[in-house]
Symmetry: C2
Subunit: 675 residues, 2 copies
């Protein structure tokens, strides 16, 4: 199953950001990354970093150069056609080419036909060529933007027919009109492109319109084929990278590192500054920690330009590594939000980063390392939305009484304070009520207090939230209480003790109702039908001890394994408080629920591999439960709904069909394995 | 006038942060900086960075080592006493020594007498020694904190008597009690110390209590002798540096770079992370850009430890250079606020960073490059407070009618929108009203719209501010309007045109009332009395053209020079819209106002130098107008209130008396100079 060239695979994800791999004949491009722009006319000029130097110092997988410039010069053209573009520029890796669109934008026109420049890129062996699309300027009206989209689509239709083995990039235009960006994305996705640049954004970025940039990217992302890398054309400033990666941009390119350097300007995560205006070097890169500012300022022009270009690429690659690390740990929203505090204009993007809530929720993994608050906007993150949604849909009241603690405790990384925890412990021993805490996430039942993201959160106490947010949370609680038909709902405000309990049992452990926790987490994670299928019906008071055995950790008291009628159905992960589904649990769900609940259906070619414990590859998937999310537990079945394996989703159900390669779900154990 | 050793000079400032210079026999220490901790027992051990390597790679001016460890070892002791501590550890620069206090905190006791260890530090030639103070833990009660302060003070009294030529550091304790920190600062400032560490903060930082840390630093700063560098003992994490520098900490030290490295941990601006937990390197330092993460992970233990120590110092020195750059450009509050969004616990410090408003306003320079908003807390910055204060105190209504535009425009870097500006232009031609804009800073009259920080601001429009803040601004406007007894005050809301003007003159330039601007800026900058003294009384309609000539730039239309009765009294600076005071203007102020208005009084030793244009050094200052602020224009006079020179304040009036060296005011031109 050697993966085909020009395919993209998603290895890891957070928000709309992905760690991915795009395969070319000249090596893989690991994303997110930047393709430094190489001007073929400047190679070897003083002050210019050579492609070899870029490869060596920054380990760049790929660079981008301009095919139109090559095409215009007889000498370059001839050499490129005979030796290939990689040899022409001397880069040992993948080379993408641009088509002259930007020249069209800058100078009004180009001298080449749209199909001719695509064929030329193919003939010089470009790894990724680009169509000659029609650039819509931000100040252009809707009519012009619409006709540019139409014209670009027509050129695209012709271009995909002549691309040959070359990957082809089909650029999304649409100006400043989000609906037109979506339309363009939909149309271009229908053609056989391999990469989708989002074009026409340079003037938007140059005028610091980050809110508009965000809208434009999100509108395109909503309709783009998710299996193709998204390239934010002309973007490569470290200011914009955390935001753009979180919004799902995989590739960047930029000539700025060299252009700014030639002007004596340095890029930083918060600004671009003239070296001459600086009094000290706010950077740790090899250039800045290897020189004093006086030394840098006194270098001759060519040496200084090269130094600044190196600095500029160092901070850019740092921003990318930082974004990659954030994707690995599931914190790219946090990183993006933080970056938006670095400049007042970036700040405006906070108003639009969460404006595709459904798309954003569908793609957000259900497991991660932490949830760190950065500012009031953090509350709009997909994880908060998802928690509320799943909780409200899947929670089942246990009693007719609801006690809710309207308090919180940041320090404890729990949605409630220690003092209240004491009261609860006592209350649980003598009464029978559903107990919840009003938190940043809305009401959280005690049983879910160790579930991701609740227990991994560092968020403000409810009392620290703005007054209007507190009111909204109270309304949510009222609605929840009403919808669940509680006979009595009591709010505990943290200042007064409303627990009028005569006999307090100090020795009652917190986890007396451990089975409630098992059921609540199972409901939250797998849904009500799956939970009912896994556990026997409650018909006497002793069924827990008789039919259900819950093994807890001796050290922490936390749930470890759940055994029903002798079958080990679930294990709880200590780090995120969620269950790992065992084969016996999965089989019970299959027996007791209808498809598609929790299922990932694979074709017959895939079955024997998955039974042996090998991962499910995207092209072999027939269908998936639309309620599954990346990192959810899933049951792999064949076309007859027969058990094949248990595993964990890697892709979102709605994107699997688009992928020509890569893992859709990781198999933990197949039916041929020991469980 | 060769400066004495052990003195501190402030070169540049922003917020409470300073670029400073502390003089030692082994070179100057440029602040803010960190003194890497050298453990004398570990020099030469595998995995340890040597003091020479630290000097070379990081250009450290100074390091700190522990005199108690040296004192405990016969071998080290003897060598230190014969060769000096610099030679003992092999560092070519200043060496500070600690006294054993931290060992007392860690192990409960030390075996040395308080005076003995001070004498020992003196005898081994330490550049800065430290008293053996009593460490108050954060969990200790007030009584214990008070008795520790008393005990430390007594030890301090003895210690200053035996310090010899060594600089001595007198540590401020006081636990978590801000009032006791102030008390300790006041008492210790009364003794002849040269440096003041703020001690007992390591456990506060270790538990991420940044709000408490902020309170403790501010409480100490309020009472500390401003002419002594403040050392935040045990602090050196890049997470805390922007905050601590903004709060006025000059020196840092930390063993963490080495201790964390030995544990396989890396410091970052937002966290400390185990290398093994990282998937990529979110850093641009020479270590992180020179290696892949796989390479770093596979190094042998000693090599890896040294690499991580280098990384840790690189990010720390980067944080310091970034803070220094921010001080140079007057943006350290902005940097500190931004850093507080990097971690939810840092975020809590936003609640306390502006809780010494008077101290913070007094020390904040009146000129700078920009004001960038980061979050709602930015509105509490001293610059906003100062603007409101000076504006309300010094503004004089010109008419009985007030028109206020309740709108703003972020894009224009002006407190009002372009559309409104058009209306105003027209209105001014036909009516006579005071025109203001409701802005982030409260009401701003048109005449002050180019004055720092108004025109250098990137802040939200009033309509983007939270509703309660908008209400508060409206209340301020009502009060302002009432206090100034306007007969009519009209609010223009930006959506409706209330300007019912029949004859609009399109060609009336914006700056028709240029003289109003001159007077308003002069009032704002120098006060009403000084303005009245500089300008003739208004007695006929033509006095502007007859007696006052205002030269404007042909290109920009902006005011350049103001000439009254043939005398050039003021020049306006293009970059901050404020006046430079000329000798003739200064003489008019002297003639027409009483001392101390705008005056800096120097003693007779200083007069001849200042007349020649040389700067005013702090020790020669007799007194200063308490309303002056750093970067304000000032008039240097002798003891008889005779004119000596015009210049610009560098220190705040209340801190001048404490400084033994350094510039109190820069002279622009003295009476012996051409003006």
């Amino acid at each position: 199953m050697a993966p085909k060239l020009n395919t993209f695979e998603v290895l890891k994800r957070s928000a709309l950001g992905r760690i991915g791999r795009f395969r070319t004949a000249h090596g893989n491009i690991e994303t997110p990354t930047i393709l430094p722009v190489i001007n073929p006319n400047l190679i070897g000029e003083p002050g210019n970093l050579s492609p070899q130097e870029i490869k060596k110092e920054f380990r760049a997988d790929a660079v981008i150069t301009n095919s139109y410039i090559i095409w215009q010069s007889d000498e370059l053209k001839e050499k490129a056609l005979s030796d290939g573009v990689q040899k022409l520029i001397g880069f040992d890796g993948a080379v993408m080419t641009d088509s002259g669109t930007f020249q069209m934008y800058m100078y009004g026109d180009v001298q080449v036909e749209p199909l001719e420049i695509v064929k030329f890129q193919r003939d010089i062996g470009s790894d990724i060529g680009t169509i000659l699309d029609l650039f819509t300027k931000p100040d252009e009206d809707r009519e012009k933007a619409e006709s540019d989209i139409e014209g670009t689509f027509e050129r695209g239709q012709g271009s995909v027919g002549v691309k040959g083995d070359m990957a082809l990039a089909g650029t999304i235009q649409g100006g400043v009109y989000p609906d037109l960006r979506s339309l363009a994305a939909k149309r271009m996705s229908s053609l056989d492109f391999d990469v989708h640049p989002i074009g026409g954004v340079v003037p938007i970025m140059e005028s610091y319109r980050y809110k508009k940039l965000t809208e434009v990217i999100l509108a395109a992302k909503r309709e783009l084929n998710p299996a193709r890398p998204v390239h934010l054309f002309g973007a490569g400033h470290p200011m914009v990278i955390p935001l753009a990666v979180a919004l799902g941009c995989d590739l960047f390119d930029s000539a700025s590192y060299a252009k700014f350097a030639a002007q004596g300007r340095m890029m930083f995560a918060d600004s671009t500054r003239f070296l001459k205006d600086l009094d000290d070097l706010p950077c740790s890169c090899p250039v800045c920690s290897g020189h004093t500012i006086q030394e840098l300022k006194s270098l001759d022009k060519a040496t200084q330009t090269k130094m600044l270009a190196r600095h500029n690429l160092h901070v850019t690659f740092k921003a990318l590594r930082q974004a990659r690390q954030a994707i690995y740990e599931g914190t790219i929203w946090e990183l993006a939000e933080r970056s938006l505090h670095d400049h007042p204009r970036l700040n405006r993007a906070l108003e639009s980063i969460y404006t595709e809530p459904e798309l954003q929720e569908r793609r957000e993994p259900t497991a991660g390392r932490r949830f760190f608050y950065t500012c009031p906007t953090s509350m709009q993150r997909p994880l908060v939305r998802r928690f509320k949604q799943r909780f409200i849909e899947r929670y089942r009241p246990r009693t007719k009484y609801l006690l809710i603690g309207f308090m919180g405790n940041l320090e404890a990384r729990k949605p409630y304070g220690t003092a209240f925890a004491d009261d609860i412990r006592k209350l649980r021993a003598v009464s029978d009520a559903d107990i919840m805490f009003m938190s940043y996430y809305g009401p959280v039942p005690l049983e879910l207090d160790e579930v991701y993201p609740i227990a991994q959160s560092l968020v403000p106490d409810v009392h620290q939230l703005p007054k209007d947010v507190q009111e909204k949370l109270k309304d949510e609680f009222e609605k929840f209480s009403h919808d669940n038909e509680y006979q009595m709902a009591v709010m505990y405000d943290g200042d007064t003790t409303i627990l009028d309990v005569e006999n307090w049992y100090d020795d009652v452990p917190m986890r007396t109702h451990v089975f409630d926790r098992v059921l609540a987490v199972s409901d939250f994670q797998f849904g009500n039908a799956a939970t009912d299928a896994m556990f026997p019906k409650k018909d006497d008071m002793n069924w827990v001890t008789n039919e259900v055995k819950i093994k807890t950790s001796r050290k922490t008291g936390k749930i470890r394994n759940v055994i029903v009628e002798g079958e080990h159905i679930l294990s709880m992960r200590a780090h995120d408080g969620l269950f790992t589904l065992k084969q016996d649990g999965a089989k019970r769900i299959l027996a007791g629920t209808k498809a598609p609940t929790n299922r990932l259906v694979v074709n017959d070619d895939s079955v024997p591999f998955n039974k042996e414990g090998k991962s499910v590859f995207a092209p072999f998937v027939i269908s998936a439960d639309p309620d599954l999310r990346p990192m959810d537990e899933c049951i792999i079945v064949d076309g007859n709904d027969e058990f094949v394996a248990v595993g964990r989703m890697r892709l979102a159900p709605d994107e699997i069909e688009f992928f020509k390669t890569g893992i859709a779900a990781e198999v933990r154990s197949g039916s041929d394995d020991e469980d």
